[in-house]
Symmetry: C2
Subunit: 272 residues, 2 copies
């Protein structure tokens, strides 16, 4: 840890919070109370699907992969970039947190590339308006300028292709990319809010949270076959972020946010 840097919390919330106005309000109250530098990245939740259904635009899947066609990118731009993002901003303002709602297109912070057609199980899949981020192209200085002005960024999971199109981009990825980019200026704890209290040693026991995972412990857990398979990509991504400069990644419950932004964490703290 570089003691000369300020601390920064990069916090990602997903559908389980966005879908419940009560859970969201409670989370935002805690988020506003987190001292110092912080960024929020939100997913979209079910509302885009619901509004899509009402508009007669149903989610298209090819080989089990969701496709972002012309109608769908309009819907997620409206719902993620407008409805969800601006409501969060207005609620944070009411809590005296000077939020500014952003997509990766705003201030050109996250240029991305439209995902090329890929062969999956031998068949070509066009994912449509989905953006993959090239970390090298991130313009983190533009985000730093906004933070230095005293604002708290709130990101919708959208980027752009530099050719005039908004792209749908995974919120976990945006959180990770921003955390890595900002690690040159801050000591970063990247927090993924999750449905569980943390990574569980026994998936049937919500109290079996593994408090700390480093690379050695991770190898040991893998050897012992103790981890639920679904959590492995999250842990792999966490180590990738740490290898790229992030100090710590925490996987925990949104309800524990206040504790999880102190040294007395409740969730699973992943360090090198």
């Amino acid at each position: 840890m570089d003691g000369g840097k300020y601390s920064l919390f990069v916090i990602k919330i997903g559908g389980n919070i966005i879908n419940s106005p009560q859970a969201l309000q409670s989370f935002l109250k805690d988020f506003a109370a987190v001292p110092g530098h912080k960024i929020l990245i939100h997913g979209g939740g079910k509302i885009a699907t619901k509004i899509g259904d009402q508009l007669g635009v149903s989610s298209q899947y090819v080989n089990g992969r969701r496709i972002t066609d012309d109608d769908t990118i309009d819907i997620v731009t409206m719902v993620y970039g407008g409805l969800v993002n601006k409501k969060i901003v207005a609620q944070l303002q009411a809590l005296n947190c000077n939020a500014i709602g952003l997509t990766g297109a705003d201030a050109n912070i996250i240029p991305a590339t439209k995902r090329p057609v890929k062969l999956i199980n031998g068949a070509p899949v066009d994912f449509g308006w989905v953006g993959d981020i090239d970390n090298e192209k991130l313009i983190i200085n533009n985000l730093k300028l906004i933070m230095d002005a005293g604002f708290t960024p709130v990101f919708a999971p959208l980027t752009h292709d530099g050719e005039g199109h908004i792209l749908n981009t995974n919120a976990d990825t945006i959180a990770s990319v921003l955390a890595v980019g900002l690690s040159q200026f801050y000591n970063v704890r990247l927090i993924y809010c999750f449905e569980k209290k943390g990574v569980l040693e026994d998936v049937t026991d919500d109290h079996s949270v593994i408090r700390n995972i480093n690379k050695e412990k991770y190898r040991q857990l893998l050897d012992e076959n103790k981890l639920f398979e679904g959590i492995l990509p999250k842990i792999d991504n966490a180590f990738a972020a740490i290898d790229a400069g992030v100090n710590e990644v925490l996987i925990g419950d949104a309800e524990d946010l206040i504790r999880n932004t102190t040294n007395s964490t409740e969730g699973t703290l992943i360090t090198c």
Copy 2:
């Protein structure tokens, strides 16, 4: 004019541009080419009504006034704050204009007050989630910080009440309020893009644009009963903005934007 200040163009576009992808693309190309400091304020156009209709939310009117009920504020937040705003931002980025999409809630720039129930023709009218701006409460320094960072603000016609709610606010008013607020830092020309080339001396003749109107000329035109009644509120608002610090107001055609950001204007230039 204070020669020590930089020039700033505050430019408002309405439905006639937003409703046509071709007109919008052409306008944005010109906007991106305007040198120096500039701000764009856009209205919503017909798309909010269209999407509202598709979602089964029809515009409600009471005594001829449009009401912004719970469903309607969600729709305009999605459409103005998300779809229209972020598409404009992505298109400007493609034109090398470093745009940042904002509502009045973002960075707390435009706090507003929910319009109180008013008696109209003796009957109480609740306009719903409509925001009136109190110029005194504008936090123009937060907008200045964003501009000083090198970004070009693009405003959707939305504000907030400081209690967690987004409010629907007239785009002409937002343009005027921002132009007035920024006039302490810049020499401001406020440009209203319009369906006509400018204010017409003869409404049946599109070529009869009045090139300059000052207060004396305005009195003379009023005395001669030469002006179309619908234009009077626009001119009154223009003089109010000028009295409050804006240098010039220009009413003109979006197609003439390039000329209208030089000294060789095509539209109607209103000065004190």
